[in-house]
């Protein structure tokens, strides 16, 4: 039995964002109230799955544990991923199954849902090299 580490941000296979019904801007984490395009401000925000593949914009391998409430163990990598259609850069941890030492800017990665940290019941989205 697993539970999402945060509600309403992702499904089994994709990030959940919102898209403005008026101007088309995307938002992640999902913006539920008003569009943040200052020329718009519409309240018509529709939930939408974001592209589940993207390109590495940048990344870092952390060699020390982050403080609580982080539950993982170093080394772990954080990746910034550029989604082409949405024109947005989204962060995520690198999947435990991917080798950070082989990672390069521009590499294609795809979304995967994995345990938050080893042995955790909570799951979160991560990026995996393809």
């Amino acid at each position: 039995m697993t539970v999402p580490a945060i509600d309403g941000w992702f499904t089994d296979s994709a990030l959940l964002g919102t898209r403005c019904g008026s101007c088309g801007s995307y938002f992640f984490p999902p913006e539920r109230a008003f569009c943040r395009n200052p020329a718009c401000g519409s309240a018509e925000l529709e939930e939408t799955e974001l592209s589940s593949t993207g390109k590495v914009w940048s990344f870092s391998v952390n060699h020390y544990d982050a403080p609580a409430p982080f539950t993982g163990k170093a080394p772990y990598a954080v990746v910034a991923v550029e989604l082409t259609e949405e024109q947005i850069v989204v962060l995520g941890q690198l999947s435990a199954t991917s080798d950070p030492s082989a990672l390069k800017i521009g590499d294609e990665v795809s979304l995967v849902v994995e345990e938050l940290s080893e042995g955790s019941e909570e799951v979160v989205w991560k990026w995996r090299t393809t």
């Binding site: 580490a5 945060i6 101007c23 088309g24 801007s25 995307y26 938002f27 992640f28 984490p29 943040r36 395009n37 200052p38 020329a39 914009w57 940048s58 990344f59 870092s60 391998v61 952390n62 060699h63 020390y64 544990d65 982050a66 403080p67 609580a68 409430p69 982080f70 539950t71 993982g72 772990y76 954080v78 910034a80 259609e85 949405e86 024109q87 947005i88 850069v89 989204v90 962060l91 995520g92 941890q93 800017i105 938050l116 979160v124």
Partner: protein
């Protein structure tokens, strides 16, 4: 310029890890700035405090806390929070009140006592706080974000680890003779490159620590300065406190994502460029007028980004500046003669004020052991969480 205010006095409590209440540092800095200005606390007509969020309720109302410690005088007060930009926002409020004619002389104070190690979320176990979420879901510490920029710079501009190390080496040399600096040790490129890797590609000696410290400035109207016998004071000629423009396409701490540029074109200037541009426009000056700059080197790599943001060189050319020694004291445009965050560590609400203190000493020719000869225009710049820009231009 019509919008100038005079800097009558500056003062600091040395940075360190002293473990005392933040109020003590703030009051020490304030008294030092008042002495420097040659006025008494009872002459002050407005006090602005930079808020500290890690020191209980007294820190949330820092302005009043400092006023009480200096002795209640009935002086009007404001306290501002803008993360790393808090001090500049406090300066801006004081300056604006002076320019509006609401007071003639104002005191601005910021001080902090910080815990050891990475800055953790302040709100405790609060899953609705974005700052909590980035630690929980990503383990995205502050250095993680700095590392993302650093690696991007390596990819796009050909920066090397040695370039980042050169920044630290330069700053460590600059800070050697600064009595207010916490770290007074000269490093070599080798020492920097063999320090422990923290957030790859950034090593321990390339990431700024957190420190205790306090800084204060006394601002006054130009008329007040004249009456007070200061004919040619250092002036604050600009304070930029701009926010980003949508869509902000650079990932910013503590966010999970950028804005989407899918339907709205990116603004002409990115956020950090816009912070400097607003300051230059206010002062009626440009990068070519600068004699000295204090930029927020949260990481050694970030200092290189700032060179471009404040127009010292074109995008992608900052590596050349550091390699050629242009930003070293004695070079074309010295940056962080104080030693920067590399030698201070960050005392959040005091840091933007400390940057201004250094520039004032530089413009007065009082920066002993680290003086930029003939400095007459200085710029400070930094950026606080969630989009608080801050830049101050001082002139003489």
């Amino acid at each position: 310029m019509a919008n100038d205010v005079a800097v009558l006095g500056v003062g600091m409590h040395p940075w360190g890890k002293w473990g005392k209440p933040f109020v003590e540092y703030g009051v020490a800095a304030a008294r030092s700035a008042l002495d420097d200005a040659g006025i008494s606390w009872r002459d002050v007509e407005f006090i602005a405090g930079g808020e500290t969020i890690r020191n209980g309720y007294a820190g949330y109302v820092a302005g009043a806390t400092f006023a009480q410690a200096l002795g209640w005088t009935g002086v009007p007060v404001a306290t501002t929070y803008a993360a790393c930009a808090a001090g500049a926002t406090a300066i801006d409020i004081a300056r604006t009140r002076i320019l509006a004619g609401l007071c003639d002389v104002a005191l601005v104070v910021g001080a902090d006592t910080t815990p050891k190690g990475f800055l953790a979320p302040t709100w405790g176990d609060n899953p609705s706080d974005p700052d909590w979420r980035r630690f929980r879901l990503l383990g995205a510490t502050n250095p993680t974000y700095f590392a993302l920029y650093a690696r991007r710079r390596m990819e796009l501009c050909g920066a090397t680890e040695e370039d980042f190390a050169r920044v630290k080496v330069k700053n460590s040399k600059h800070g050697l003779n600064n009595p207010n600096a916490r770290y007074k040790k000269e490093y070599t490129v080798d020492e920097v490159l063999t320090s422990p890797m923290v957030s790859d590609p950034l090593r321990l000696l390339q990431i700024c620590a957190t420190s205790d410290g306090g800084a204060a400035v006394v601002l006054a109207s130009m008329e007040y300065a004249k009456r007070h016998g200061v004919a040619d004071p250092v002036r604050v000629s600009a304070v930029s406190t701009v926010t980003p423009t949508f869509p902000n396409t650079v990932i910013e701490m503590p966010n999970f994502s950028t804005d989407s540029a899918a339907t709205v074109a990116q603004p002409e200037l990115g956020f950090r460029d816009a912070i400097a541009a607003a300051a230059y426009e206010q002062a009626g000056l440009g990068p070519e007028d600068l004699s000295v700059a204090e930029v927020y080197d949260l990481s050694s790599a970030l200092e290189l980004d700032w060179y471009e943001n404040i127009g010292l060189c074109k995008a992608g050319e900052a590596e050349k500046l550091i390699r050629d020694g242009d930003t070293t004291i004695g070079g074309r445009i010295p940056v962080n003669p104080s030693g920067g965050l590399a030698c201070f560590g960050e005392a959040v609400p005091a840091q933007a004020i400390a940057q201004v203190c250094e520039l004032v000493w530089q413009l007065r020719g009082q920066a002993e052991g680290r003086q930029v000869e003939g400095a007459n225009v200085g710029l400070s710049i930094n950026q606080g969480l969630f989009g608080h820009g801050s830049s101050v231009i001082v002139t003489r």
